[in-house]
């Protein structure tokens, strides 16, 4: 419904019922605000957004109202410019500033501070107060967030965000009147894995990025480019910033269909691996006395020589490398000799997931659709740890019920405090079945903790309860039957249910079960969606590209079919146990590895080539949603570091593969790659290199970028020309189109008068909604509309704990389980130490206490770990942290035995 709103005498059409603040901002007015946030809506706390409302055209006095708390109605008359309203707003700022410290020059928020922007907007310039300022002590909040409490203006955004949206418990407001204190009860790292968003949510410099503080640069000095997070399969959109050749921070890039306004801490803070000392900077050749740097040309011609002389070559790609890198490797070695570097089980899991999404009739939701869902079932996946922003989305899904309840009372969804009060403890039905407790448990309507097979059986039972045509689950306990009935009843009621699962539990049956529930709901005509978490940032892309697993590669090597093995951005010692990896590598004569960081695999490489990270190269990743998204180089790769595909191209050309010569730019490669079945959308993921906005390139540097003529002057006073970017429509320069480019190319948010990230308002058609021109990325996977919903034939037998035999399952950790982010100091600090998780009953039976050393044997792999007693872990299950440094690699789930090292066999 459209309403006509008269603002300062001019008529505008706005959405009826929308709050006036949002309406005015959407119309492009500069109206200051603090407590309102597009993702958290209105509480009317700060009184900054005051405007004047008039009864009718004859009313000249009007009254001051809070625009964020007033719905727009037909024929409403308001004034933003009214002198009294202006004075009121200036007065609010002046009052806020009474206690504000004289900190801007040393405040990390300076230059992108919403408080600075709003102060300038209201015109307050001079402190008239003669009182002394109140001060606060700060807290140590861990490696990610810095706390400087003096700067607080008590807008309450931080606690509202942290407690209501992110579900954290350890940040709150203390004290009263003008002493209110926003912090933790005691010092200590913030517990929520979404704590980094406080940095963006807080309109002042109370919460700032602690990693940035270690190598500070102002927003105007950062070279930035649109990028995509590489630390999980969701593909959140990011804006990394660089200065002096070093990555300095990562900020959120708004994509309403993916991460919205927020990021998780792994994505925000995982970037520092790019600056790690482990970075490979030169091609290395392994000699008798260890690896030594060699010139690039020598490395290329050496490897090309191996290929040219009729050498039989094999390529191992990677689910964490871009489509471009994987494709180039496949082109170099030939499709039949290209293997994605994942174990067979992971390949099976990912292909199962992809099959469910591609062949079934069920759509995979984008994260916005998950946020807007009204019921959810999470089967087997600990999303808080494997795909944190999906967990965040599920939290928003839980709130949908409150909004619905409030709507029945005529309360608008943006009236956030009223919604919260009326909604009380109401939450959308969310069912979670996982092997171990999750950090989402507090929003769950019901929880199950069970072995993966049991979880799968529960899923199949739900399908059966929904649809009598679904296969019967044999030997189902009464309890499971009634649980299944409850879940089915709630899902059937829902208008937009989602089923969430993933590869994290390591069980294809769990995926099939999730597919079965979705299929059953679909048969009932429900608008159900199925979201499947994948292991890595480009798992979906790798699967779409096709290629065997490491098992296939190993069998080729065993057959003695391989002289040269080329491994792309893949540490085999994280995929296979050490013996298997040794066996694979020992079977080849020559080993060449391309990677960013030195690892166990590069250490074995005869030739190791340094390749560019996500921040130094352009490429495409396909997220678990099937969304192909392009990341762009934030800064040019230095020295001999190059994009993987460029190395491979050079080697290919030197070895006589002339067709690779056509790949002059990333676009050329993408053009070739888009001819692959299923990948035709890739070239649409972002505008190509020829794109120009108003005839100009998009500058990566803001128009206030400083120090150009001095930053390199210590080396030479003669300034080099800015590096040319022939791959993309972006430029390593401050010259170009500073306006709004298409979403996939937005390098930063800035607008006149809006230096903080709230400048995003000016990029959106309607504030809080889609960016003008639509969201970034292209969905490669859409369901076949007419495909019949089918059920898997196989239902696993029930899990029975056997005496002396355990089922070892993988436990994922948001900090520590992912390979690259684990090289970031802050992430490493928060990662758990290696452990083996036991249920309290099992621990007692084995006579093991917390921290006692235990020996875990899975197949031939034996390792000693300290025991950790995990309440809620089902009996008969052992939890082994996935991907954690210091824990031996075992393919999970698997049967295993445990014995107390001090107390002898149990």
């Amino acid at each position: 419904m459209v309403a006509t709103l008269h603002i300062d005498g001019a008529a505008y059409s706005v959405k009826e019922g929308q709050n006036l603040l949002q309406a005015c901002l959407s119309l492009g007015f500069n109206l200051p605000y603090f407590c309102w946030h597009p993702a958290m809506h209105s509480v009317g706390a700060c009184r900054q957004c005051a405007v004047k409302q008039f009864k009718d055209e004859k009313d000249t006095r009007g009254k001051i109202i809070m625009s964020c708390m007033t719905p727009a109605t037909e024929g409403m008359r308001i004034s933003i410019e009214d002198p009294e309203a202006r004075a009121f707003r200036a007065g609010v700022i002046e009052a806020l500033m009474v206690n504000h410290p004289h900190d801007c020059p040393v405040c990390d928020e300076g230059g992108e501070c919403h408080l600075q922007d709003m102060t300038v907007m209201t015109g307050h310039v001079c402190r008239r107060a003669r009182v002394r300022k109140r001060t606060h002590r700060n807290q140590d909040m861990g490696p990610f967030v810095n706390h400087e409490m003096n700067r607080c203006i008590a807008c309450y955004r931080c606690v509202r965000y942290y407690r209501e949206l992110a579900g954290g418990r350890d940040l709150d407001v203390f004290g009263w009147h003008h002493h209110v204190y926003f912090g933790r009860q005691v010092d200590g790292p913030l517990e929520s894995e979404f704590s980094g968003n406080l940095v963006e949510v807080c309109p002042t410099g109370v919460f700032t990025d602690k990693t940035l503080k270690g190598h500070y640069a102002r927003k105007w000095d950062l070279q930035t480019a649109p990028s995509v997070c590489v630390h999980c399969s969701l593909g959140c959109n990011t804006i990394p910033g660089e200065r002096y050749g070093e990555l300095r921070r990562v900020r959120n890039r708004f994509n309403e269909e993916v991460n919205g306004y927020f990021l998780c801490d792994r994505g925000r803070y995982g970037y520092e691996y790019e600056n790690s000392d482990l970075r490979l900077r030169h091609p290395l050749r392994l000699g008798a006395e260890g690896p030594r740097p060699i010139p690039s040309a020598e490395a290329v011609s050496y490897v090309a020589g191996l290929l040219r002389n009729g050498g039989r070559v094999l390529g191992i790609g990677s689910p964490r490398a871009s489509l471009e890198g994987n494709f180039a490797l496949r082109a170099l070695v030939g499709a039949g000799r290209f293997f994605i570097g994942w174990p067979e089980r992971e390949r099976a899991l990912v292909t199962t997931a992809l099959r469910l999404l591609r062949e079934g009739a069920i759509r995979t939701p984008c994260l916005r659709e998950v946020r807007e869902a009204d019921a959810a079932l999470a089967l087997g996946e600990d999303v808080s740890n494997t795909a944190p922003m999906l967990a965040f989305a599920l939290r928003q899904c839980a709130m949908q019920r409150k909004i619905k309840v409030a709507a029945a009372f005529g309360i608008a969804p943006w009236d956030s405090d009223a919604v919260r009060l009326v909604g009380q403890d109401e939450k959308s039905p969310i069912f979670i079945a996982t092997p171990c407790g999750t950090r989402l448990d507090d929003i769950a309507t019901r929880l199950w903790r069970a072995a993966p097979e049991e979880i799968a059986r529960l899923g199949f039972a739900v399908a059966k309860a929904l649809d009598p045509d679904a296969p019967e689950v044999p030997d189902l306990s009464d309890e499971a039957k009634s649980s299944a009935r409850d879940i089915a009843a709630a899902l059937r009621e829902a208008e937009r249910p989602v089923v969430v699962s993933g590869t994290g539990a390591g069980s294809p049956a769990v995926l099939e079960a999730a597919g079965a529930v979705a299929a059953a709901l679909r048969r009932l005509g429900r608008n159900v969606q199925l979201s499947l978490v994948l292991p890595e940032c480009n798992s979906a892309g790798a699967a779409l590209l096709g290629g065997g697993s490491l098992a296939g590669a190993l069998s080729e090597v065993r057959k003695g079919q391989v002289d040269t093995l080329i491994i792309l951005e893949n540490d085999l010692y994280r995929r296979l146990n050490a013996e298997a990896a040794d066996a694979l590598l020992a079977g080849v004569k020559h080993l060449m590895v391309l990677d960013h960081l030195a690892n166990a695999t590069t250490a074995r490489a005869e030739v190791a080539l340094p390749c560019a990270t996500f921040a130094e190269s352009e490429g495409t990743l396909v997220s678990q949603e099937g969304r192909a998204q392009r990341f762009f180089a934030v800064h040019p790769a230095r020295g001999e570091v190059r994009e993987s595909w460029r190395w491979l191209r050079e080697i290919g050309m030197a070895a006589g593969q002339s067709e690779m010569a056509a790949w002059q730019t990333t676009d050329d490669l993408i053009q070739t790659l888009s001819q692959e079945p299923g990948l035709s959308g890739v070239k649409e993921a972002a505008p190509g290199r020829e794109f120009r906005a108003a005839g100009q390139k998009i500058p990566r540097q803001p128009h206030r970028y400083s120090g150009r003529t001095a930053m390199g002057a210590d080396v030479s006073v003669h300034e080099p020309p800015p590096p040319e970017d022939r791959d993309s429509p972006l430029a390593f320069s401050m010259e170009g189109y500073q306006g709004q480019p298409p979403a996939a190319l937005v390098p930063r948010y800035w607008a006149p008068g809006w230096n903080s990230d709230h400048a995003l308002n000016k990029f959106q058609g309607e504030v809080g909604g889609a960016v003008r021109g639509g969201p970034a990325g292209v969905r490669l996977i859409e369901p076949a509309a007419d495909a019949p919903a089918r059920y898997a034939a196989e239902i696993p037998p029930p899990f029975q704990p056997a005496e002396g035999q355990w089922l070892v399952v993988a436990l994922h950790h948001v900090f520590g389980s992912e390979e690259l982010s684990a090289h970031t100091p802050g992430v490493a600090q928060l990662a758990p130490r290696p452990y083996l998780g036991l249920s309290p009953e099992d621990a007692q039976r084995c006579g093991v206490g917390e921290g006692d050393p235990v020996e875990l044997a899975v197949g031939s792999s034996v390792q000693q770990l300290p025991a950790r007693i995990i309440p809620g872990l089902p009996r008969g299950l052992l939890g082994l942290p996935a991907g954690l440094a210091g824990v031996k690699v075992v393919e999970l789930p698997a049967g295993g035995r445990v014995r107390s090292v001090t107390g002898g066999p149990p």
């Binding site: 004289h102 801007c104 606060h136 002590r137 190598h215 400083s706 120090g707 001095a710």
Partner: protein, 171 residues
Amino acid sequence: MFSLFKGLWIVLRHAFVKRVTVEYPEKKPVLPPRCRGRIILSRDPDGGERCVACHLCSAVCPVACIALQAAEDAHGRRYPKFFRINFSRCIFCGLCEEACPTYAIQLTPGVEMGEYKRQHLVYEKEDLLISGVGKYPGYNFYRVAGLQIEGKDKGAAENEQPPVDVRDLMP
């Protein structure tokens, strides 16, 4: 005709007027302190580096000839890890001095900066930092700012109350 002679007369008269041009470099003129010449970084009255690495001077510099990197000492005091001015680019406009919130960067009457090599016109912090307060005595940013540094606890800045005890319930 008349104007011609008038012009000649003026020229002749000027030959006997007192000179304003100075025989530089034999004679050194006294430049007023507000002259915009060689840039220095000053220290606060307590001897600490005044520059807090806020990047305002570098941002305002129209020729972008200031580059610096912020760093922090163990007690939270901000200072520039390096501070570089490329004087071969500087136009001595003085905007950096105007932008500086701490009186750290100042233009001085020093004008003798000629070099045979352009590279020698690149000044690092060691070349810029003097040991005095320069033109502006008395001001110490950290005495006013809310940030805690060594020797200045929270609430100990000018015009500040002692830190709030959050657990106190007194009105």
